[in-house]
Structures are given as structure tokens and as C-alpha cells.
Symmetry: C2
DNA sequence: CTCTTTGCAAAGAGTTTGCAGGGTG
DNA sequence: CACCCTGCAAACTCTTTGCAAAGAG
């Protein structure tokens, strides 16, 4: 069997922090965010629990940004905007993403479990900083 | 200044191999593919040149698959299908991707340089292997 | 001849894993 | 009380970097 998951405060805290966060944090971001409240928290625990969540489909990976994997507790189909200047990851509402999985299944003959759509560029704030 | 690029056989070979490849290879895949023909080729050179190509927009990154970054010399907007079982990366033709960048720019107020759309799942071949 | 490119190997960064002890049901 | 979960630290993997030698224009 996989995981006969027991309850755990740390795990709860990690998932909670991920749900509360809107910035699609990385493992280390979660770590430094939880460390004050759980001084004996270990990075390994973060990684281990993230792997569990991923396996159970409770969270998704947004992809690797600047070498660090970023996670999202919102598993509904939605796109992301990744600012290549500040590394911020924003949610993007975009319709017409619903039927794509089915369309791709028909086109490839495979089975689609999900998709990830991300846009790269500079966010509004970073643009403002550069504007003349 | 950036790169006052000179000509280089190795570089030409790397880009050539990437253009010829249809499997969106990683740095190491390119390395083992070119090594026979260029016995004194070094992995560092692969990485260095990939970084140059990326910077110049000659290639794009498909994302990180199983811990390794994968590259594509086809910079036109198109989607990818990543098989989570065999790690294969396939091209997916999908219309209606053209105008998305503009739509996202209007929605976020940022500037979009490009996007990446990838589907995860099992490819047809892997499904066939499992089929009863 | 000058400046770019490369090989090699060491350094870095992020992530994973083993083990002994603590927590949960 | 049995099994899961955690801290700690070492191990791993992929990628980056420094330096001296080789290559291109």
C-alpha cells in the first residue's frame, strides 16, 4: 500500500501554508515561512510531504522557476504567469482550457492527466519600475 | 556586451543536433548523442551553449522533466505532451494558442514574452504496454 | 594577435534518503 | 504498542564556474 497516512501537525501546517499562500511557494519558501512557528521543522520534511501531496493529487507543481520547483494547492485548471524578472508567479484566469485535455487525448491517443500552461514575461510591477 | 559570437564547430553541432532531434533532448542527451563524433566534447560546453541559445531566443526550454531540463529548437508556439511513464516529450498541434499571449497581457497588465503549454499523462505506447 | 570558446574538474544548489528517536491512533 | 513521521546530516544529481590552453577572425 501507499501511505496509510496518519495525522501530523507538521503535515497539516505545510498543506495549510500552501493553501493560504497565493504566491505558489517553493519548498524553501514554505520552510522559512513555517520555521518561526515550528522551530524544529526540517527541510526534508517539507520535501517529503510535498511528495506525498503530489502523489495524492492534493497539490500540483507549477514548474521550475529559477531552479526551484514551485507548488500550488489550487488543483483546478488555471494558467500561470511567471515574471522572469522578479520570479513572481501569478494566477491567470483563462477560459477554453477545459476541453483541451480531451482534444489532446484524441490527437495523441494517450491519456491526459492534466496540463500546465504558463506564460513568461515581465509582470506589471516590474514594467512600472522600468518605465521611463 | 553580450556575445560577439564567433563561429564554432561544437556550437554548430549542438544547435544542429537540437534542430535535428524531435525528442526535445536534455543537456545530457545531447552530450551522449554528440560524444561519439566529438570525443573531446564536454558537458560544460553543452550547458554554456544552451544558455547562449536561450538568451538569443534560438531555442526554448520545454521545462524540467524528471529533474532534467529539456530543450526545443522549434520556437514557434506549440504545445507538448509529456509522458510521465517513459519521459517522452511529444509535440502537440493546437490552434487557438496564437492570441493567448495578447489576452494575458491585457488581463495582467504585464508583458508576455512567450508561453509554455504542456500536458502530462501516459502516451499511447505506454498505454498499449499496460492494456490487458 | 586579440578575443571567444573549450576541457577539465571543482564548486554550487536543490532535492532525496537512511537512520534512530518521537508522535499518533 | 505498532507503525508512521520527523530531524539531522550525508549523499546525489543536475548545472554552473574558474582557469589555462586551443581556435577563430
Amino acid at each position: 500500500m501507499e501511505t496509510a497516512r496518519k495525522h501530523s501537525k507538521k503535515r497539516e501546517a505545510i498543506l495549510g501554508a500552501l493553501c493560504a499562500a497565493k504566491d505558489h511557494p517553493s519548498a524553501e519558501m514554505l520552510y522559512s515561512r513555517l520555521k518561526p512557528q515550528y522551530p524544529d521543522l526540517s527541510l526534508g520534511t517539507i520535501y517529503r510531504n510535498l511528495a506525498v501531496f503530489l502523489g495524492d493529487g492534493d497539490i500540483i507543481s507549477v514548474g521550475t522557476v529559477a531552479g526551484q520547483e514551485r507548488y500550488d494547492a489550487d488543483t483546478s485548471p488555471h494558467a500561470h504567469f511567471i515574471c522572469r524578472r522578479c520570479g513572481r508567479v501569478l494566477d491567470v484566469e483563462l477560459p477554453a482550457l477545459e476541453d483541451m485535455d480531451g482534444a489532446v487525448e484524441r490527437a495523441t491517443g494517450g491519456r491526459v492527466a492534466g496540463h500546465s500552461l504558463s506564460f513568461r514575461g515581465e509582470c506589471a510591477e516590474c514594467l512600472a519600475k522600468t518605465a521611463t
